[in-house]
């Protein structure tokens, strides 16, 4: 290979490198767009609409057992739940009354509940904590043994006829 040829090859190499520069600048342009939407946090607590103890016809303990109380949240920041059941009446707190009014006549004994952390039947004359800081599993927690008991006395059987009821309020606190 002659020196002249070497010079030509070197010059061509330099020219090729020079021409390569614009090619780096060129190309298929792209742009990106972020599409977004938000799912908000929800908190739910589900309890039975109605628990019926039927007709009170004899002195007896009337029970309804193993009801489900379900708590749920999609809030990933929450991992525990506390569930409390209460009666919000004042004068007849914890008692079934005629038509659910906060006045007499009321039954002789308070309604008792158990389930979750409440191992034995306990009167609803005060709040009952069924779950205390229990761990959520995929945002869910279930109490599947919630039960109520109403003790009927002979005195109750002679009270004004009608539907005796109580409204239970369940509250879940997620943390």
């Amino acid at each position: 290979m002659t020196k002249r040829r070497l010079i030509i090859i070197a010059a061509l190499a330099a020219l090729a490198a020079l021409l390569a520069i614009p090619a780096v600048v060129m190309g298929d342009p792209t742009d990106i767009t972020t599409v977004r939407g938000t799912i908000g946090a929800t908190y739910s607590l589900t309890s039975p609409d109605t628990i019926s103890l039927g007709n009170f016809e004899s002195t007896n303990n009337y029970d309804s057992s193993n009801q489900n109380i379900d708590a749920y949240t999609n809030d990933a920041q929450k991992n525990q739940v506390t569930i409390v059941v209460s009666d919000s009446k004042t004068s007849t707190r914890g008692f079934m009354t005629l038509n659910g009014n906060d006045q007499i006549p009321k039954l002789a004994n308070a309604l008792s509940v158990k389930g979750g952390a409440v191992n034995t039947y306990s009167p609803l004359t005060s709040n009952q904590t069924l779950a205390s800081n229990q761990n959520l599993i995929s945002g869910s927690y279930t109490i599947n043994d919630f039960s109520v008991r109403q003790t009927i006395t002979s005195d109750d059987l002679s009270k004004t006829a009608g539907t005796y009821s109580i409204t239970l309020t369940f509250t879940a606190t997620f943390n």
Binding site: K3, R4, L6, I7, A10, A11, A13, A14, L15, A17, L18, I21, P22, V25, M26, G27, D28, P29, T30, D31, I32, T33, T34, V35, R36, G37, T38, I39, G40, A41, T42, Y72, N74, D75, A76, G139
Partner: protein
């Protein structure tokens, strides 16, 4: 010896030109410009109901000053692998964190909403007008009841638009 000196001079000059050119290409023409502009963000807001969430009237613009180019092709894709086409929690490529249905797009030659589970060509060799091209498009996200109970937070997808000038 003289030949070697010539070779040396040519190599040095060539190297200097290569180094110098990107900084001050005073004797060469500017390279052609190719640009594509898509919306930076498209927000559906809060997903609170079972319905189709939609954003319309979105615009993509493309431009080149390259006189040798007369046509353009524009495509859009999601570059994720496992959840291609789906909005996901925080944009993660995780099946467990995706919405039930993929994002749909329509616009250009895509006349009905189509999922971005594969690359979509919105324009196929469309004619440039003085180097410009403009395209309207829309996006739609179908939200199910299942989606509303998914982990709370921001769900998103990053769309990559590409223009090919010919």
């Amino acid at each position: 010896m003289r030949g070697f000196l010539k070779l040396l001079i040519v190599l040095i000059c060539g190297s200097l030109i290569i180094i110098w050119m990107p900084v001050a290409p005073s004797f060469a023409e500017d390279p052609p410009t190719y640009s594509l502009t898509a919306p930076e963000t498209i927000s559906f807001g809060d997903f609170t109901n079972v319905m189709h969430y939609e954003k319309t009237g979105l615009i993509i613009t493309a431009y080149t000053d390259d006189q040798t180019k007369s046509k353009i092709t524009i495509n859009v894709e999601d570059t994720k692998n496992n959840t291609k086409g789906y909005l996901t929690l925080g944009g993660a490529d995780d099946n467990l964190k995706s919405l039930s249905n993929p994002l749909n797009i329509q616009g250009g030659i895509i006349s009905s909403y189509s999922p971005v589970t594969s690359i979509l060509y919105l324009v196929n060799e469309g004619n440039l007008d003085n180097g410009n091209y403009s395209l309207n498009f829309s996006v739609q996200q179908n939200i199910t009841s299942s989606d509303l109970s998914k982990t709370a937070g921001e769900y998103k997808i990053i769309l990559t638009f590409t223009a090919i000038f010919q």
